[in-house]
C-alpha cells in the first residue's frame, strides 16, 4: 500500500456515505409503501437494502474497510452462527 493510497482510503467521504444511507432509507420506505410488489419480493428487496446499509456503516463508519484483514475475518467469522440460529429456529416455526 503506497502512502498516497492509504491517505486516500483512510479518510473516506463521510458525507457521501451519509447521502447513500439517506437515499437507501427513502428507497426502503418507498418500496414498502408505494411499490405494490408481491410480498416475497418486497421482503427480499427490503432485507437486501437493510444489509446494504448495514454494510456501509460497518465498512466506512466503523472503518472495517481499513482494518487489518485479520480483524475483518475475526468480525465476519461468527456471523454464520447468528444466521444459523435464526434459520433453525425458523424451521420449527413451520
Amino acid at each position: 500500500m503506497t502512502a498516497e493510497e492509504s491517505q486516500e482510503s483512510s479518510t473516506p467521504n463521510y458525507y457521501l456515505v451519509w447521502f447513500y444511507l439517506l437515499v437507501l432509507t427513502v428507497a426502503e420506505v418507498g418500496v414498502a409503501f408505494i411499490s405494490g410488489l408481491p410480498e416475497t419480493w418486497l421482503i427480499l428487496i427490503l432485507l437486501a437494502l437493510a444489509v446494504w446499509k448495514a454494510a456501509l456503516v460497518a465498512m466506512y463508519y466503523m472503518h472495517l474497510k481499513f482494518e487489518p484483514p485479520r480483524l475483518v475475518l475475526t468480525v465476519i467469522a461468527p456471523l454464520p452462527l447468528a444466521i444459523l440460529i435464526t434459520i433453525v429456529v425458523l424451521m420449527e416455526g413451520f
Binding site: S10, V88, V89, M91
Partner: protein
C-alpha cells in the same frame, strides 16, 4: 491526514505494559490489594473462594436430595431447620425437592464449575502463560468478579423469598417456569432469571478480557503453536462464552417478561412457543457443555505431560481437536431436544453432527494415553486427579454416544442414565481436572504447597465413592428410574430397586464428607503448609520461572519465549525439563526492554 500505520503507532500499543520496577515496594492499601484488586492473580483467587463456596452449597443440596431418594418419607437429620413450609418435621416436601434439584444444577453449573474453570484458571493462568504483566483490561476484570458476586447472592437469597427458590429445573423450561401456578414458585423463578442475566454480564467481561489478552499480549517468541494447552482451551472457551452467553441472557430476559409483565413469548395460549425457549436455551446450553469441559481438558493436558515427563503427544492435534470440538459444539444443540417433538429432519442432522464430536474427543483421549505411554510417570496428587479425569471422561463420553442416537435416546431420555452421564462428565471430568489444577497451581498463587498426604486420601476417597454413587445410576436409569423424581418408591418397578438408591445415598454422603478433606487441606496448608519453591513440579511454562507466590506485576521484565511448553526429557539436556524462557545453546537473549526502547528512539 493519517495513515493506518501511524494510527497504530500513536494509539497505545500492545507492547506498552507497565513492568514492575525490580525490588519495588507494593504500596497498595489492603482494599486495593485483596478486595477491589485489579491484579489478575488476586481476582483468580477471589473466584476460587467464591466458587468453592458455591461448590459446597451445591454439594449440600445434593446431599439433601440423596437423603430423600435414599430414605423417602423419613425425616432428614437437621431437616427441622427449614421450617414447615419446606420440610414438615424434617421430611422434605416435594416442592422443596424441586427447588433442590433446580438450585443444585444451577449452582454447580453456573456458580461452581464454570467460574472454577473459567474464572479461576482463566485469571490465574492467562497473563502468566502469555508472559504479560496483567490482563488487557484489569479494571474490567475486577468488575467481572464484582458482578458475579451479586448474581450469586441473588440466586442464594431466592431460598428465603416467599415460595422458595426456582423449581423448574436448571433448564427452566416454560410454561412450567413462566407460570407461577404450575411450579408453585413465583419470586424465586424471577430471581433465577435476573441472576442468570447478571452472571451473563460477568462472564462476558471475562471473555472479552481473555480474548484480547491472548490475542494481543503474547510475549516475544510466543507464537500460537507455542501456547500452552490450558491457554488454548481457555481461548476457545472464551469465544464460546462470548457468543453463547448473550443468547441465554436474551432468552432469560424474554422469560422474565413472561413472568413479570405478562407477555407470552413462550406461552402457547397466546401464540407463543415453548420450543423457542428450548432452542434458545440449548443454543447456549450446548456450547456451555464445552465451556465446562474444554478448560478441564487443557488443565489435564498440562498436568499429564508434567507427570509423564514427556512432551504432550500430538500437540497440533490437541489444538485442532479443541477447535473442532468447539466448532461442532455449535451445531449439535438439538440433541438435547430429541423428545421435544421437533422437526425429525432436524433431529437426524443433529444426531449425525453429535456423533462426529466423538472423533476429536477420541483424538484427545488417545493423545493423553500416548503422552503417558512409556513416560517416566510421577503420580503426584495433580497427576492422580488428571488421570482420573481421563478415565472418567471416557466413561462419560461413551455413555454420551448412547444418548446421541435418537432411537436409544427415546428409551433413556430423562432417566437416571443421563444423570449418570452428565455427572461422569462434569464431576468425574471437569471437577477432577479442577482438583488437579488447584493442587498443581495452588503453590504459585499462595506460596504454600497443599499437603500431599491429605491430597492423596482426598483423591482416593473421592474417586472410589464417586464411582459408587454414579455408576449404579446407569443401571437404575436403564431400569426406568426418572430423573428429578421426588419419591421413587411410589412406583412398583422402582420400589424393588430402592436398596440401590439407599446404597448410592450412603456413598454420596461419604463422597460429600471426603470433600471436607479438600477444604481442610486448603485451610491447613494456607496456615501451616510447607513453603513452595518457585518450580515445585519442574514444569516449563513461564509462571514457574518467577518466585512463589507470584509477585504483583508478574515478571520483572517482558520474558522471551524460546520453545513450546512441553519440552520434557529433551535428550540434549541433563535436566528433564526445559523452561520456555530459558535460551538453549546458541539462542542469544535479545537486549532487555530498556535497551530496546533506547534503540527504537535512536
Amino acid at each position: 491526514m493519517t495513515t493506518t500505520a501511524t494510527t497504530a503507532e500513536r494509539v497505545p500499543n500492545v507492547s506498552v505494559q507497565h513492568w514492575a520496577e525490580p525490588g519495588h515496594e507494593d504500596d497498595r492499601s489492603f482494599w486495593r490489594k485483596y478486595v477491589f484488586s485489579t491484579d489478575h492473580k488476586v481476582i483468580g483467587s477471589q473466584f476460587l473462594f467464591l466458587s468453592l463456596f458455591f461448590l459446597f452449597v451445591g454439594g449440600a443440596l445434593a446431599m439433601m436430595m440423596r437423603w430423600q431418594l435414599g430414605f423417602p418419607g423419613e425425616p432428614m437429620p437437621g431437616g427441622g431447620v427449614f421450617g414447615q413450609a419446606k420440610a414438615v418435621q424434617g421430611i422434605l416436601l416435594p416442592e422443596f425437592y424441586n427447588s433442590l434439584v433446580t438450585m443444585h444444577g444451577t449452582f454447580m453449573i453456573f456458580f461452581a464449575i464454570m467460574p472454577l474453570l473459567v474464572g479461576v484458571f482463566g485469571n490465574w493462568l492467562i497473563p502468566l502463560h502469555v508472559g504479560a504483566a496483567d490482563m488487557a483490561f484489569p479494571r474490567l476484570n475486577m468488575a467481572s468478579f464484582w458482578t458475579a458476586v451479586p448474581a450469586g447472592v441473588l440466586m442464594l437469597a431466592s431460598f428465603w423469598v416467599t415460595g422458595g427458590a426456582a423449581g423448574a429445573g436448571w433448564t427452566a423450561y416454560p410454561p412450567l417456569s413462566a407460570v407461577p401456578e404450575f411450579s408453585g414458585v413465583s419470586m424465586g423463578q424471577k430471581l433465577w432469571c435476573v441472576s442468570i442475566a447478571v452472571l451473563g454480564f460477568s462472564s462476558l467481561m471475562g471473555a472479552v478480557n481473555y480474548i484480547t489478552t491472548i490475542v494481543n499480549m503474547r510475549a516475544p517468541g510466543l507464537g500460537w503453536m507455542r501456547l500452552s494447552l490450558p491457554v488454548w482451551a481457555l481461548f476457545i472457551t472464551a469465544i464460546l462464552i462470548l457468543l453463547a452467553i448473550p443468547v441465554l441472557t436474551g432468552a432469560a430476559i424474554l422469560l422474565l417478561f413472561d413472568q413479570t409483565i405478562g407477555t407470552a413469548f413462550f406461552l402457547p395460549e397466546a401464540g407463543g412457543q415453548p420450543l423457542l425457549w428450548q432452542h434458545l436455551f440449548w443454543y447456549f446450553g450446548h456450547p456451555e457443555v464445552y465451556i465446562l469441559i474444554l478448560p478441564a481438558m487443557g488443565i489435564a493436558s498440562e498436568v499429564i505431560a508434567n507427570g509423564s515427563r514427556k512432551p504432550i503427544f500430538g500437540y497440533r492435534f490437541m489444538v485442532a481437536a479443541i477447535v473442532t470440538i468447539a466448532f461442532l459444539g455449535w451445531i449439535v444443540w438439538g440433541h438435547h431436544m430429541f423428545q421435544s417433538g421437533m422437526n425429525p429432519l432436524l433431529g437426524t442432522s443433529f444426531m449425525f453432527s453429535t456423533m462426529v464430536i466423538a472423533v476429536p474427543s477420541a483424538i484427545k483421549t488417545f493423545n493423553w494415553l500416548g503422552t503417558m505411554w512409556r513416560g517416566d510417570l510421577h503420580f503426584h496428587v495433580p497427576m492422580l486427579n488428571a488421570v482420573a479425569f481421563v478415565a472418567m471422561f471416557i466413561i462419560g463420553g461413551l455413555s454420551g454416544i448412547f444418548m446421541a442416537s435418537t432411537p436409544i435416546d427415546i428409551y433413556i431420555h430423562d432417566t437416571y442414565f443421563i444423570v449418570a452421564h452428565l455427572h461422569y462428565v462434569l464431576f468425574g471430568g471437569s471437577l477432577f481436572a479442577i482438583f488437579a489444577g488447584i493442587y498443581f497451581w495452588f503453590p504459585k498463587f499462595f506460596g504454600k504447597m497443599l499437603n500431599p498426604t491429605l491430597g492423596k486420601i482426598h483423591f482416593w476417597t473421592s474417586f472410589v465413592f464417586f464411582n459408587l454413587v454414579f455408576f449404579p445410576m446407569h443401571n437404575i436409569g436403564l431400569k426406568g428410574h426418572m430423573r428429578r423424581i421426588y419419591d421413587p418408591t411410589q412406583y412398583e418397578w422402582l420400589a424393588e430397586i430402592q436398596p440401590m438408591n439407599t446404597f448410592m445415598s450412603v456413598s454420596a454422603f461419604l463422597l460429600g464428607t471426603a470433600q471436607l478433606l479438600f477444604l481442610a487441606n486448603i485451610v491447613w496448608s494456607l496456615w501451616k503448609g510447607e513453603d513452595a519453591p518457585p518450580n515445585p513440579w519442574k514444569a516449563n511454562t513461564l509462571e514457574w520461572s518467577i518466585p512463589s507466590p507470584a509477585p504483583h506485576g508478574n515478571f520483572e521484565e517482558m520474558p522471551t519465549v524460546y520453545r513450546g511448553p512441553y519440552e520434557y526429557s529433551a535428550p540434549e539436556r541433563e535436566e528433564d525439563h526445559w523452561p520456555m524462557g530459558e535460551p538453549g545453546p546458541g539462542e542469544e537473549r535479545p537486549p532487555p526492554e530498556e535497551q530496546r526502547r533506547k534503540e527504537a528512539a535512536g
